[in-house]
Structure formats: structure tokens, C-alpha cells
Amino acid sequence: MNLSIETITWLLPLPPLLAFALIVLFTNKNNRLSHSIAVGAAALSFLGSVYVLAHAFADSHFGEHPIESSFPWLQLGATTLNIGVLIDPLSAVTLAFVAVTVLMIFIYSVGYHNYGQPKGDHDHKGFPPHGATEHGHTVLSIEPMYARFFAFIGLFAFGMYTLVISDNLLTLFVGWEIMGLCSYLLIGFWFGKDSARDAAKKAFMTTRIGDVFMLLGIAYLYAETGTLSFRAILYNEEVLNLLATTPSWFGLSAAGLIGLLLFVGTIGKSAQFPLHVWLPDAMEGPTPVSAMIHAATMVSAGVYMVARMFPLLSAGWHEGGALTPAMTGMAVIGAFTALFAATIALAQNDIKRVLAYSTISQLGYMIAALGIGAFVAAAFHLVTHAFFKALLFLGSGSVIHGMEHGVLHTGNHKVDPQDMWNMGGLRKKMPRTFWTFLIGGMALSGFPIITAGFWSKDEILADAWAHHHYVVFGVLALSALLTAFYTMRQITLTFLGQPRTKEAEHAHETPLTMTGPLMILSVFAIAAGWVGIPEHFPVLGPMINNNWFHHFVGSTLLNPPHAIDFSIIPLATSVGVALGGLLLGYLAYRNAQTDPLKKLLGPVHKILENKYYVDELYDRAFIQPAKKISHDFAYLFVDRNLIDGTLHALAEITFWLGGIFRNKFDVPVINGFGDWVADAAQWAGNTIRKIQTGSIQQYMLVSMVLAFVGVFFFFWVIQP
């Protein structure tokens, strides 16, 4: 069989979908078979991706002739909607991190859901496993809905692959929505818990708000151009110019309005302020889901989409020129979110929530980078972040798992295995988890030279500096400082020092199915940065000397961006904030028993801990009023009182009128007349009966008299 590269690209999303169908329909009773199918499917997609990527990466002019193939799907009026696949440099690098992280997460899930452990004593579907008794000990028990989990993540992976290989906004949106649906199913995986159900609903609804605007953007774009194909819109200078110069509503150009609408979709999906509220709550899902949704796939999809649409968002902009409205929006929201979320992360005690806010903050970085036109830097950070954040999430899952082991050992279920203040000293208990988490944490903090995060973050800062976006530069540098600080806080509290609880003392390293993926991801968390070392970087630049990533991804655009000159200020800044933050974090928490920030920040800490009360604000400002308006105003007042009331009043009036007609007219007048006629007839009958004597002579006499009177009347009264 000879498969063309296009065919293989088409086939990439299919294995996980097939796995979903097979597990749901046939193997959901068999755990071993189910996870084998799911992991096998992920591996198959991975291998296919490697094949496609080998082709892509080997081609130095790949951006000019990408892999593409499409067919018509829906005829609408004069235009046809095509759907198809496209692998160009941007989707190639995205595919690379998706393929790797998805496979790792699948493998990790086997261990995370306690495969090989006995069934729980009191476990129910919809609740996390509570442990089983074996030989008198309490041990971890297998997830009661083990097979179902693999089915769901299979569908999720299908959504992400579909999104990445799409050559048009429509199928991208399909993948986008499938992931939205799966995020609902997976965040609410333990549906027995109210908190999980609420979080699932919140995630779905919040991202949905963004999705609707995105859909409008898509509809508008299609209405303007008659196509949704990326190549036809984004690689066509004429179309872009036309969109940029077509005046539209609200004082914007068509490109500006479409760009903003699409960007709102990203605000929802990538959890940017003000739609960021769902992401931290989504930590209710199992940890592999957190890694999947919050690192590798769904939130990255939001950034990927705006990066994909960058030529449209920046239509009318040229390097160094004034930003378009959509870009300004992205720069402002991205930079603000980066700082905003980083400050919240400072005051969180749940190990996963710190990572959740860190994710929001890092996504803000990428959005801000796109906003100032640093296309390649944003894509670069997207890739490196996916690796090290997946690593960190999975690492935190491993920590929690280790802690749960301790909890089962002591039997004290009041100890929260996710609270970092219950940990400490885990480096000795869980060395593999510690070292890999450390690598991830360093990459997130941007530890100079060796970690991937340094190179991508540095490139964003350098770009902001070189193009004189000093405010963005300042805000991002400050967030980088905070990032390094809270990361070190997390590492110190979790792994360093001495155990603060008995449970931490009895924590246990997790199985190889979990630590294996951690080790592989940590390789990427370091090495992924080396592909993008700037040409002009001292010593290393000339040594590696090609900045492959920049040229490769840059060729996605019609006008590839220039490499910026080296400047010491951003470099010194990024090195300074990373090292400074790490050092401060270590010093502050090295021996801490309580949080020193609490004292230092006072009431501000309370605000941070409560996430600026945004959730409460939304509840009071939107959710409660919406319910009130729908129920009290729309339903009770308008629908039941006004409309139905009018109707009932009309009915009443009709009845009343009927009553009047009946009682005042019908009964006395019409009926009365009728009755009167009847009465009169009866009276007449009674009266006349008296003359009915039965004597024929008498009748004759009366007849004669009447006849004479008649004749007389006729001739003398009427005739003359």
C-alpha cells in the first residue's frame, strides 16, 4: 500500500476517534483492552505525525509548498465551503508538540488511574477512587470508570488533531467545539462531586461565550470573502487588503471587526481576562485532563487560532507601524492577563491551582506577543510552554498521587493531598518526580541558557524592546519575575526542606507509567529551546547559527519577519528576573511554616487569595441578574402577566360581554321576546279555545261575519 503524505495527514485524527468508538461500543468492560486501544491509537497518530513532520522539517522552503488537500463540503449560495487539511510550518510545529504531549498523557493516564490496583471497597462511578484493603493495608484502588476515561480523552485528541490539520476555519471550529464538549465531559468526569459538575458547566459556558463571537466572526468572514480556507484568505494580499480597507460597523474595518470577534473566541478558549474564570476551577478534573486541557491542547488551540489568523488580524499593519485594533486588543489583554494571573498564583496553596494561574499568565504572554507582532516568538513560546507545562501538570499529578499514598497510609483523610503546605521534603521520597518537576519549573521560570522557556520568553521580551513597546515589555518582565518567584515557592514548599506532615513522610514515588512520560517531557522542556536560538546571540548564536525555528515558522507568513538585532537590555532583564525571582522564592520559603507573603502584603494577600473576587463579581453582576431577569421579568412579568394576562383579560372580557349579552339582552330582550311570543300564542290559544264550541252552525256564522267584514274592509278602506 502506498499512502501519499496528504492521505496520511487526513488520517492523523482518525485513530483516537476510532479508539473512542471502539471503547464506547465494545470494550468498555475491559480495562486492559480499552487502554491498549487508546494508547495504541495515540501512538499511531504520533507515528503518522512523525512521518509528516519528517517531510516538513526536511524541506527548507516548506512554507511555499505546504501539504494541502481539500474537497467541497457545503454549497451555499454562490460560494462553496471546502474542507481539507493543511500542514504548513505553523501547524507542523503545533502538530509536533501535540503529538508528543498527547501520547505522553495517554501513557501517564494508565498509571494515574491506578491500573493494576484492586477494585475499591466503596468506590462508586462518578467519584474518585477511595482506596481498597489488601492484606490488611489500605492501597490505591483503580478508577471505577477507567475505560470511559480513555474513550473521552480519545475523542479529545481527535478534536485537537482535527483542529491542527484543518485548512479552514470551519473544521478548525469543529475541532474547537469537540474539545469544548470533551472538556465538559472530562472536567466533570467525577460527576458525583458537585464541585466537578459546577466546574464542568462553568468551563463549558464560559468558553461558549467566546465561541459564539468566534462563530459570528467566521460567519462575517465567510460573508465577506466567500471562503474560509486559510490559504485563500491569509496568503492572498488582495483579499487581505480588501478586508483591511472595507469599512464596517462600529468604526472598524472588516478585518478589524472579524479579527476582534475571532479574538474573543481565543479569550474564552485560552482563558484570558475577563473569561479566565473557568480554568482554575477546571482543576476539578483528573490531572491528566488538566495537562491535556491546560497545557497541551485546548488552551493552546486558542493561541494557535489567533496565530493562524495573524495575517488577518494584522492586515494593514507593517513591522514597526501602528498596531491594528485587533492587535492592540491582544497586546493589552495579553499583557494584563500575564501580570494579573501571575499575582493570583502567588497566593494559591493548591499545587494544581498555582499551575492553572501560571498557565493563564503564560498564555497571556503569547497573546501579548502576537499583539505586538512578534509572530514567531509567540509560536515559539506556544511550543515550549506546551512541553514544560504538560510536564509540570503531570508532575503535580504524580506529587498528588504520592501524597494520596501517604494519606491512605495514615488513614487521615482530612489532609488535603493537593495543599502544598502539607508537603515538604518530597525530593527524597519521589526523586524522579522531583528532578523532572525541577526541570519543568526552571523552564517555566526561564532559567538562562539551558531551558527552553528562557529562549522563548527572551525572544518575546527582545521583540517588545526592539519595537519600542516599552509598556508591554515592562509588564511582561514584571510577570516573569513573579513567575520565577511563585515557581520557586512551589518547588520549595513541595520538595525541599523537611516533611511538614506525616502524610508527606509516607509519600511514595509513582510507577514508571507516570514517571516515564515525565522524563521524556523533561528532555523536550530543555531541548525544545535550542531550535530557536537567535543568530545574533553572543557565542551560542554563531555556534548554532541558523535559528531554524525563526526561519521555518516565519515562512508561514507572506512576508517573513526580520530577525531582530541583539540587544543587551532585554537579555539582562530576562536573566535578571528569572534568577532574581528564583532566588527570592527560595529565600522566602526555605524555612517557612506560614506564608511570609501574608504578612508582607496584608489585606492585598487576601484579595489575591480570593482571585480579586472576580467570580463573586460575575455572580452578582451577571449570573444572578440574568436569572432574575429571565424568571421574574421575562417569564413571570412579560410572558405570564403581560401577554397571558392580556389574553386572560380578553377572555374575561369576552365572558363578561357574553354575560351582559345573555343577562341584559339575550334573556330579557330576545328570550323575552321569544317567551312573549310563546306566551302570547298560548294566551291566544286559551282565549280562542273558548269559541271552539264544536257547533258547525256557529262556525258558519262566524265565518260569514268575518267574510263580510273582510270584503267591506277591502272595498271601502283599502281600495279608494
Binding site: W73, L74, Q75, L76, G77, G126, L170, F173, V174, E177, I178, L181, Y184, G188, F191, G192, R197, K201, F204, M205, R208, I209, D211, V212, F213, L215, L216, I218, A219, Y220, Y222, A223, S248, W249, L257, A626, K627, I629, S630, H631, A634, Y635, V638, D639, I643, D644, L647
Partner: protein, 498 residues
């Protein structure tokens, strides 16, 4: 399709239209206590009608003539009334929709225990009325069938409905619909007398060239009169009350098909015969539809009765159909045409599910339900698919319908209507998620243990058929969109190529 050529020699549309009524009469001949036989005969009749409607759908040539399967006989030639039937690209899918809803409605009516014979007879009479409206090309015949469709509804609700509200709801529904149709009838008579053609034939009236003032005067009467049956704000209130009070199969028919009748007649008689009036009035009518769409969704969100949620969601979704018409763009009309089918199937599915749950739990209060997925996994799956359709999830029919509608509204230079209307998508997601959560997930109430079981295979088949259509249209929109578009092209020829 070529192998269906033979249909052209058959009076297939008359067969579809009258078979249900005749069959329904025949049903009355079976002794009333042989319920099983009655159900089987009804099932066979439903299947036959469904197959015929499928044949019509498949036999319709998208590239062919505008009207196909034409039959025309004189009826009252002195008054210009004829029996003239045919289907075009817009009505052919609606005929199939009716066939599907009819068939599945009969399947799930096995639980009807009280006088099933009369129930099915009236249901089939209703179907005759509905088919008649969709295929009629003569205005008189259209009104005739329209009233036939409304009349059995009263009895079906008042006799077999939910005891608490059935009399009120039946009366309310009948009053609204009769008044609506009388208002339209006045407009129709105005057309008949002023055209000077002495004919009720709509093909002839299309060419009547009514003066613009006449059109502007009479369009609102005809359009709104019919749109009452489409649930247009503020004349929508008969619909949720009616849905709730009606027995399951009637709710399915009612929301699934009957509401389309209103929208369809408003298009056929209102927009197509009075295009100038349409162009003049629809720009403000779109505001009413916007209220429908958003307001209906909001109200659905706060209902505590399972069936009322679905009832108000129909108000919201039917608003989208009329919004598509009111956008006056081909995209909007294509979307509206697909939405009629998509919503019909989806809402039939919803009501079927509500009925299956109510029959076993005897409650529709959301606070009392929960955990149904444990007992009825397939029903849950089908409901979720329907829910996703109603949220406009791509890959399902709702998206194929709503995407063009919103696009049409953008194109009609009213972006803010599209934006406000799109809010409904979010609210829809909110109430659907709420339903799924409250009814199917969460804890299974202990009191239902032992009372609630999985549904019968026949019921699964019905749900499966409905679900399949929703997925099929979503994945392969080519099965319906070109056909609808062929019909829409003609509407725009009349509207003067907007």
C-alpha cells in the same frame, strides 16, 4: 434519482396526503378492545407514509423543474378553486420531516392506553392536514388543509392530554391558531378579489403583480396570521402551554411539524405572493424574531418543568427560522429551510425523551429527576445529541442551519441583530447543560428504584432514527442544502434578486 422515475406517473402526493386520513378512518373499524391490532395497523400505516415521503424526497430532482410531482384537478372551477399539489425544494424536505415525525410518533405511542383507536385516527387526520399544507399550490386548498391540521389538535389535547392543564391549553391553542388563520384568510381573500384573475392558484397569483400599496397593506395580516402558528412573539404563548399539555406523540407533531406549517405558509402565501410587502415589513419583523430567539431562550433557562424548557426552546429556535426569512438574504433562507427540518427532528426527539421519562417517573419536575443515564443510557445519548444540535454544534444539523442564518443576518447589514441573537446560543447551551445535568446525571432518586427501566427496543429505534438524521445532515449537508437552495432560488426570483 433515476430509478424513482416511476413516481412521476403516480399521484404520489395525493397518496401521501390522503392515505393517513383514509387509513385513520379504517382504523375506526377495528374493535376498540383489540389494542394490539390497532397499534400494529397504525404502525404499518405510519411506516407506509414514511416510506412514501422518503420516496418523494429521493425522487425530487434538484436540477429539475421548480415544482415536481404536480397534480391538478378542478375542484370548484366557478370560484377558481382547484386541487393543485406539488413539492418544491423547500417543501420536499418538510414532507419527509412530517413522514419521519409521524412514524416515530406512532412508534412511541404504544403506551397510549385510553381509546388508542380514536387517538391514532385523529393523529392521522392531523397528518393529512399537514401534508396537505406542504404540498398545496392552491390557496383555498392550503387553508382547507390548514384548518384540518388545527382541528384534531384540540381533541387530541383535550382528551388525551395532561389532566391539569389540558382544557385550558387546548382552548388557548385553538383560539390562537383559528384567529391567526382567520386574519390570514382575510388577507388571502383580499388577494383573490383584487387580483382580477378569479383564481386561488398560487402560481397564477405569483404573477398577479399586486400594486405595492396593496402589498404593504396586506402583507402583515397574512404573514403574522400564519406566523402565529410559527410561534412568533408576542403570539407564542399558546405553544409552550400546548406542548406541555399534549400527549407525547402530539407534542412531537406539534412542535416538530405544526410550527413549521406556520412558518412555511407565511413564506408561501406571505413572502412569495407579496414580495414588495415582504421587503417593506420584514426589516421590522426581524426585531420580533430577535425577541423570540433571545427571550425564549432566557425563559427556557428558568423553567423547572422539563417539558416547559423544551417548549420555550422551540419558541426560541422557531424564531431563528423566521429570522432567516426576515434577513431577506439567500443564505438566511437556506438556513431557515434547513432549520425547519433540523428543529423538527430535534424537538421531536426531545419530546419523545420527555415522554419516555415521564411515563416511568410520573414527574417532569427537574428537581425530582436525576441520574437517568444509569437506567437509560441510550436515551441519554440521544438527548445529548439533540442538545448539541440545539446548541449549534458543528458536525450536527443545527450548525448547518444556524451558520447560514447568522451569516444572512450579517449580510443584511444588521450585525447587532446577529450579535444579540447569538447570545441565544450561549443561553441555549446553558439550559441544555442544565437539563442534562439535572435529568440524566447526578444522583438517581431512590424512589424510582425498581420503577424506572430502560426503554423498549422499538423506542430506541425511533430515537435512533431521529438521531441519525441529525447527524447525517450535520456531516453531509449535501443531502439537503442543494435541494433547499433550489427552492430558495425561486423565492429570490420573486423577490427580484435582492
Amino acid at each position: 434519482m433515476a430509478f424513482l422515475q416511476f413516481l412521476n406517473d403516480w399521484p404520489v402526493l395525493s397518496l401521501i396526503t390522503f392515505l393517513p386520513a383514509v387509513g385513520g378512518m379504517a382504523l375506526l373499524l377495528i374493535p376498540g378492545d383489540r389494542k394490539d391490532t390497532i397499534y400494529k395497523v397504525a404502525l404499518g400505516l405510519g411506516a407506509a407514509v414514511f416510506l412514501l415521503s422518503l420516496l418523494v424526497y429521493l425522487g425530487f430532482e434538484v436540477e429539475g423543474a421548480r415544482y415536481q410531482f404536480i397534480e391538478k384537478y378542478n375542484w370548484l372551477p366557478q370560484l377558481g378553486i382547484s386541487y393543485h399539489v406539488a413539492v418544491d425544494g423547500i417543501s420536499a424536505p418538510l414532507v419527509l420531516l412530517t413522514g419521519i415525525v409521524m412514524f416515530t410518533g406512532v412508534i412511541i405511542s404504544q403506551r397510549i392506553d385510553e381509546r388508542p383507536r380514536e387517538f391514532f385516527a385523529f393523529l392521522f387526520l392531523l397528518a393529512t392536514g399537514v401534508f396537505g399544507v406542504f404540498v398545496a399550490l392552491d390557496m383555498f386548498a392550503l387553508f382547507f388543509f390548514y384548518e384540518i391540521a388545527v382541528f384534531p389538535m384540540y381533541l387530541l389535547i383535550a382528551i388525551w392530554g395532561w389532566k391539569q392543564t389540558r382544557e385550558y391549553a387546548a382552548m388557548k391553542l385553538t383560539m390562537y391558531l383559528f384567529i391567526g388563520s382567520v386574519v390570514s384568510l382575510v388577507g388571502a381573500l383580499a388577494m383573490y378579489f383584487s387580483s382580477g384573475l378569479k383564481t386561488f392558484d398560487m402560481l397564477a397569483l405569483e404573477g398577479a403583480n399586486f400594486p405595492p400599496e396593496f402589498q404593504i397593506l396586506w402583507f402583515p395580516f397574512i404573514f403574522i396570521g400564519f406566523a402565529v402558528l410559527g410561534g412568533i412573539f408576542p403570539f407564542h404563548n399558546w405553544s409552550p402551554d400546548g406542548h406541555v399539555a399534549a400527549p407525547t406523540a402530539v407534542s412531537m407533531f406539534h412542535a416538530g411539524v405544526l410550527m413549521k406549517l406556520g412558518a412555511f405558509a407565511a413564506l408561501r402565501v406571505g413572502i412569495m405572493l407579496l414580495p414588495e410587502g415582504a421587503k417593506f415589513h420584514l426589516p421590522w419583523i426581524i426585531l420580533l424574531t430577535l425577541v423570540n430567539v433571545v427571550y425564549g431562550a432566557y425563559i427556557a433557562m428558568v423553567q423547572t418543568d422539563f417539558k416547559y424548557v423544551i417548549g420555550f426552546s422551540s419558541v426560541s429556535h422557531m424564531g431563528l427560522v423566521v429570522m432567516g426569512f426576515a434577513s431577506l438574504t439567500p443564505e438566511g433562507y437556506i438556513g431557515a429551510g434547513v432549520q425547519m427540518v433540523s428543529h423538527g427532528i430535534m424537538t421531536a426527539l426531545f419530546f419523545a425523551v420527555v415522554g419516555m421519562i415521564y411515563d416511568q417517573t410520573h414527574t417532569r419536575e427537574l428537581s425530582k429527576l436525576g441520574g437517568m443515564v444509569q437506567k437509560m443510557p441510550f436515551v441519554t445519548f440521544a438527548f445529548i445529541i439533540g442538545g448539541l444540535v440545539s446548541m449549534g454544534m458543528p458536525g450536527l444539523s443545527g450548525f448547518v442551519a444556524e451558520f447560514p442564518i447568522f451569516m444572512g443576518v450579517w449580510l443584511s447589514d444588521k450585525p447587532w441583530i446577529a450579535i444579540v441573537g447569538a447570545i441565544s446560543i450561549v443561553i441555549t447551551a446553558a439550559y441544555i447543560i442544565r437539563l442534562i445535568r439535572r435529568v440524566f446525571f447526578g444522583e438517581f432518586p431512590a424512589e424510582f428504584e425498581g420503577h424506572v427501566h430502560d426503554v423498549k427496543p422499538s423506542e430506541k429505534f425511533a430515537l435512533g432514527l431521529l438521531t441519525l438524521v441529525l447527524i447525517l445532515i450535520g456531516v453531509l449537508p449535501g443531502v439537503i442544502v442543494p435541494m433547499v437552495e433550489a427552492g430558495v432560488d425561486h423565492v429570490f426570483a420573486l423577490l427580484g434578486g435582492m
